[in-house]
Point group: C2
DNA sequence: GAGTGGTCTAGACCACAGA
DNA sequence: CTGTGGTCTAGACCACTCG
């Protein structure tokens, strides 16, 4: 079983099965290897757990578009220098292109609604207070074929109502140069400290569906918090991503 | 299936099945719920993926000793103030005790050997050069019953040979007040910057065995790098842990 | 309707722990 | 030797996609 998985892995890595291509169906694999149906599925299961492959019900099993991992530089991406060059979004886009893929942005969903309890607590909102939500689904595709895509991140940002009221551009699709952090700074809510909490947890059914991963696979979640000079959290970002597609990095001066 | 798993999860959370207790065997669960053997095993499989339960071949399936997650404060744990109070180890120990568990340290394995390629590259060593390795297996147990334990982390630190030669205490079990980072500072290799890279990857068979997790479950790996004033990496730590047991946190001043 | 992945049943054999 | 988890086979049904 592991043997068969390793053999397919080799073919993927040597380019015999290129990214985005369709793999043999489960019954085909079963017949070819002389194994049971369950076992054949499990072969694809371990490849899926490694992020080499993804399955679509009714269609088939495909080689993943992104065989490596995207590096997310936590401390570097928010430097003023990086921000002026497009910042986090720009860095993300560049990294994706380097891997031969293109980011196919979908419109940001903007709404005012009750945030999840954890977010409400961080923003110090009463439990029924509505906050501003900006939600992005981030798919990438092959440059030559935009048919098959893979969702690489679900990013939701929350802003307290008073902050949102002071920053009308936050309710627009495009938040302008420097992004939402710059708009907050313009309105007197400049962020001076950032905190990120990282967790690996089971995906909710909705998340598994949106990311196109099996329901039992875990996701990587970053809870990003932006603090102003007086210590108030004025932005909470939830980044949910497939655990197979990312590498995170943080760097800091000791004792700072 | 999900229904049965949720029901057992409820019993665990309500304390009907307390931490460390033995759950019904797979055949028992199968009979009790009128399901197939595979399905019963899968029930425990999803609970295991959530970190609520662990299985030992030949013995049975147990409720996990640690139902919550340990918070690892990446940036705070290396502050000089924290270090003088026992630092990272002290913080770890305190957090564990707060969860009603005790850290049952095993002796550190100390040796000089060839580090893995990735580590050698970070330390800028030729591929056959031996480095100093300090390896710890970190199990925790219930205070009242030290029979059943759960391994919570595998921590391996690597030091280049010249640095190790300058710090003889690094080859002792006990590295003294402030730990290895203080000994390095004493010898003129004070670390001024830290970098940590985080990845979720499949466990190697040895790791799965040491951590007592299923071979197909992913682990969380932190690559910790300590840099001196002149930018040299004088310590690389690899922390491998079950993805279900930890939460990570980083905090920094923007633009620093 | 035919082909795909996803879930389940039923039953077998193996590896390991412990009395 | 018995009971445990772990892996596999064989076959069924369901949900979904697409022609």
């Amino acid at each position: 079983m592991q043997r068969i998985a390793a053999s397919i892995q080799g073919k993927i890595e040597r380019g015999i099965y290129p990214p985005g291509s369709l793999l043999p169906s489960v019954p085909e694999l079963q017949a070819a290897e002389g194994i049971a149906y369950q076992t054949a599925r499990e072969v694809y299961g371990v490849l899926q757990a490694q992020g080499l492959v993804f399955s679509r019900r009714g269609k088939g099993t495909y080689v993943s578009l992104l065989l490596g991992k995207i590096l997310r530089d936590g401390t570097g991406r928010y430097l003023p220098s990086a921000r002026s060059e497009g910042g986090a979004v720009g860095a993300f886009d560049a990294e994706i292109r380097r891997l031969g893929l293109i980011y196919q942005p979908l419109p940001t969903v903007i709404a005012r609604e009750r945030p999840p309890k954890r977010v409400a607590a961080l923003l110090e909102l009463h439990h029924a207070t509505k906050a501003l939500k900006r939600e992005r689904v981030m798919p990438v595709g092959l440059a030559e074929d935009t048919e098959v895509t893979e969702v690489i991140q679900l990013a939701t940002s929350w802003f307290p109502p008073d902050v949102a009221d002071a920053c009308p551009q936050l309710e627009q699709q495009n938040t302008g140069a420097g992004g939402s952090k710059s708009r907050l700074a313009d309105a007197g809510y400049a962020q001076v400290r950032l905190r990120e909490e990282i967790e690996v947890r089971p995906a909710s059914p909705e998340e598994a569906n949106a990311l196109g991963i099996p329901t039992d696979q875990a996701v990587l979640e970053i809870t990003h918090q932006g603090l102003t000079e007086d210590g108030r959290i004025v932005e909470v970002g939830l980044h949910v991503m497939p655990r197979t597609k990312w590498r995170l990095s943080y760097e800091w001066k000791i004792g700072a």
